[in-house]
């Protein structure tokens, strides 16, 4: 693998030296997610609704203070910022958990949504901190700060990328071609900036966002549903839903122990 990268590197360098270098942005969106097949998915069949809360059990760890002195802009625009690793609502629900269907959706091909997803760099933090999207769906990366950022996606299944956005208002379009969960996103200029994206080959995914709760629309069937958190790992539960059924599935993450689902 490294050998291939080395050869690729040398070859690319030769191209640049010969004046043939260059290359475009790989942001072109493709019409369907990989790994599908079988019948086409009709969103009207997703009549079952699964809702739930992500319960945090135990004492909420104190959020670490972020030292932003390395960049005066960040320090002045986000004074007193704390780590977003563990955020819990006042009612005790864990934010920024990614929820998705791991199995039960196979045998169907899913089209990629035409509307894209956006991640914004604002006041030297990513917004949102966690998000989900489909493979080949367009991701817009935006810099709303007057300082520069680099966006480094540490993908392993997909091709990793590292791009710079030195100018306020700059936007870059990117796609991930394969399902991968999770893909960490980092800014190497500002080491505290981190986000996670879940990339899927189906549309059954969401996050607990800022409320600590979620909703998934599913066709009738039996599914393995996963709740993933960057610090506390994942919880898995199997659920069978019928046509038009409203089901509730809560997950519990504990600060010191394995969580449970009910």
């Amino acid at each position: 693998m490294h050998k291939n990268k080395l050869f690729a590197g040398v070859f690319a360098m030769l191209l640049v030296l010969a004046g043939c270098g260059g290359g475009g942005d790989d942001s072109s969106a493709l019409p369907s997610a990989p790994g599908g097949g079988g019948t086409s998915y009709d969103s009207a069949t997703a009549t079952a609704t699964v809702t739930g809360n992500i319960v945090f059990d135990g004492e909420v760890p104190e959020a670490a203070r972020i030292q932003m002195a390395a960049d005066p802009f960040c320090q002045s625009h986000n004074e007193g910022a704390t780590s977003e690793e563990v955020l819990v609502t006042e009612s005790g629900q864990l934010q920024n958990v990614i929820l998705y269907v791991r199995s039960g959706h196979e045998g169907t091909s899913y089209s990629v949504p035409s509307e894209g997803i956006e991640i914004n760099q604002e006041d030297c933090a990513y917004s949102p901190h966690t998000f989900t999207m489909m493979a080949n769906q367009e991701l817009t990366i935006k810099n709303s700060d007057t300082t520069l950022h680099n966006i480094h996606a540490w993908a392993e299944v997909n091709t990793p990328f590292n791009i710079g956005q030195p100018v306020e208002g700059m936007e870059t379009k990117k796609t991930f071609e394969q399902a991968e969960m999770p893909v960490p996103i980092r800014c190497d200029v500002h080491r505290w900036m981190g986000a996670f994206v879940g990339v899927f080959d189906h549309p059954f995914h969401t996050t607990s966002g800022s409320t600590g709760s979620y909703e998934l629309k599913l066709p009738p069937g039996t599914y393995e549903i996963v709740a993933w958190h960057e610090k506390y790992g994942e919880q898995v539960s199997t659920l069978e839903v019928a046509d038009a059924q409203a089901a509730e599935l809560n997950f519990t993450f504990s600060a010191g122990a394995e969580g449970t689902s009910d």
Partner: protein
């Protein structure tokens, strides 16, 4: 005529300035290794995603990780210019062809090094290229230190011959073995840093509370190999020190470097321990890298002096008779 008494326009005076410039280049390279170490220690290697420009600019705002990455590029550029000037100067003024070739080698190394640095950024720090970048840095450092020695008046006047006393291997070849051990240890250190194995064994001096750790992962193996390498280097430096102390301690050109090496090795082992105890604090880790490079540099210096000074007995006797 001593170099100090040479007139301002004499060749000897000019050569002194060439030597001083070579020393300055070596000092600049020392700082460059420190600056490069800070890039890895602060994990800022990808803070500037493009190359050769930085965010499309010659001089981006020096904030966050950019300070380390672009700062490293600036220091590297400065050392590159120094090397270029040194190559021109040597090609114009140096009579010894092999010194001219060596200087060209230094120039080639610094150019290759900059390309490797660019590639490792563009390809997101692949281990092979990053380790090659670190290894070539040490090689370049050795070449520049050699040039500083070869251009010195002391070397050009001819170092005093010393009769070889005893020992197998001979002192020059013992020095070669020591230098090789140090170089391999630095390579292992680079591999450990670029595979993020620096804390794969979290305790010191034991390893997971044992003498020999469980080899559950490649990271643990790499880390433990680096510790074993440290023992090997310490043993080799000690052996060289004992040999020089026993047989050549009246020769300061040999004694001084090995004493410096011994001090540096003790410092280095201490820094290695604190690197782990501090969870890889950036400054401590970087000084660990820097001290490793300095041990190698002094070892190269000692090796070259040993080859120049320590002659087999017959050759030494002949030299003394003709002197």
């Amino acid at each position: 005529m001593t170099p100090e008494s040479a007139g301002p326009e004499s060749p000897e005076r000019e050569n002194i300035w060439l030597h001083r410039f070579a020393v300055f280049t070596a000092l600049g390279t020392t700082f460059l290794i420190f600056a490069g170490g800070m890039v890895t220690s602060t994990e800022s290697g990808l803070a500037v995603p493009d190359w050769p420009l930085s965010y499309g600019m010659f001089f981006p705002p020096m904030v966050g990780g950019i300070f380390y990455e672009h700062g490293h590029r600036m220091v590297a550029g400065f050392v590159g210019v120094l090397t270029f000037v040194l190559a021109i100067w040597v090609s114009l003024k140096e009579d010894r062809a092999w010194v001219r070739w060596l200087t060209l080698g230094a120039l080639g190394a610094v150019i290759t090094q900059s390309i490797l640095g660019g590639l490792t950024v563009l390809y997101l720090l692949p281990t092979a290229i990053s380790v090659a970048h670190a290894a070539l840095a040490q090689t370049f450092y050795c070449i520049v230190i050699s040039l500083a020695l070869f251009t010195s008046p002391d070397w050009k006047r001819g170092l005093p011959s010393v009769r070889e006393r005893h020992g197998n291997p001979s002192l020059p070849w013992l020095c070669v073995l020591t230098t090789a051990a140090i170089y391999l240890q630095l390579l292992m250190g680079a591999l450990m840093r670029h595979t993020k194995s620096g804390l794969a064994i979290p305790d010191f001096p034991l390893a997971f509370g044992r003498i020999i750790p469980p080899f559950d992962s490649g990271a643990i193996m790499i880390h433990f190999a680096h510790r074993v390498g440290a023992l090997l280097v310490t043993a080799m430096v000690s052996w060289t020190l004992i040999r020089i102390w026993a047989s050549y301690r009246t020769h300061r050109r040999l004694l001084r470097p090995i004493l410096i090496m011994a001090c540096l090795v003790m410092t280095q082992v201490t820094l290695g321990a604190f690197t782990i105890w501090s969870q890889k604090a950036a400054l401590i880790t970087t000084f660990h890298v820097l001290t490793g490079a300095m041990i190698l540099g002094v070892s190269v210096l000692l090796t070259l002096r040993a080859f120049a000074m320590v002659a087999p007995e017959i050759k030494a006797r002949h030299h003394l008779q003709t002197a």
